[in-house]
Symmetry: C2
Subunit: 139 residues, 2 copies
């Protein structure tokens, strides 16, 4: 789609869940936090305001969809939604289920090292569940 | 508006800029970062997904409006947009102009203490400028 390429640092820390109409959905490989990342498949977009109006609203609907899936799956105490991009400039939106008992609470999740990678079997199962809940076709 | 009351912790750390159609716009009293906070004037809303669909889209348009004002005023290297709410649960959205030379870069701005409060005269001038750029009536 018009020159879109996923930033290699985002690719390295995540597994793809699937593509919604606008966004590629990624699962961060950190079992401490149920943590999705949405990346609009548009070339050369750094900030939310760089997206056109229709794409912004499409992205919001996809954020809402992902957040509802995490809320339903995990019943978190809070949802964090954030587009920061100080390290990876490509526009990407974090949607994270937070718990008062989690490893970073009440701080933000970034830079709370080290990540705890998923057991590969748990991971594959979670990706399959997420695909189903997001009504993406089975892989 | 239907039982809305600004969380006192948000009120304590900010000055009001004005009310857009949905959101109260606040300026965080930290001269290190041009930092607006939008609070939808709805009662009992914690997460983005708790807002109705029309309100979500209205909020997005107001985020876009505030982000464009900060971008034009300050020409930042990056914009950070985030709804976290781990400390103050009331839904509020941070819109922050970031610079590669700022006090937190490339980390997020939260918990990078201590804040550097504005000189009151600079502060009043900035609020007046923001009101004008957001096309809010003069105070």
């Amino acid at each position: 789609m018009n020159g879109f390429a996923l930033d290699p640092r985002l690719a390295a820390d995540t597994q793809p869940v699937g593509d919604l109409e606008l966004s590629r959905v990624l699962l961060t490989d950190d079992a401490r936090f149920p943590w999705l990342i949405l990346v609009p498949r548009r070339a050369d977009v750094r900030d939310l305001v760089d997206l056109g109006h229709a794409d912004q609203h499409r992205l919001l609907d996809e954020i809402d969809r992902c957040a509802r899936v995490l809320r339903k799956l995990d019943n978190p105490d809070k949802l964090n939604v954030a587009a920061l991009g100080n390290v990876v400039a490509q526009l990407h939106v974090h949607v994270i289920a937070r718990f008062t008992r989690d490893a970073a609470w009440p701080r933000p999740v970034w830079n709370v090292a080290p990540p705890k990678n998923y057991d590969p079997r748990d991971h594959d199962k979670l990706v399959a569940t997420l695909r189903q809940k997001l009504t993406l076709p089975a892989d």
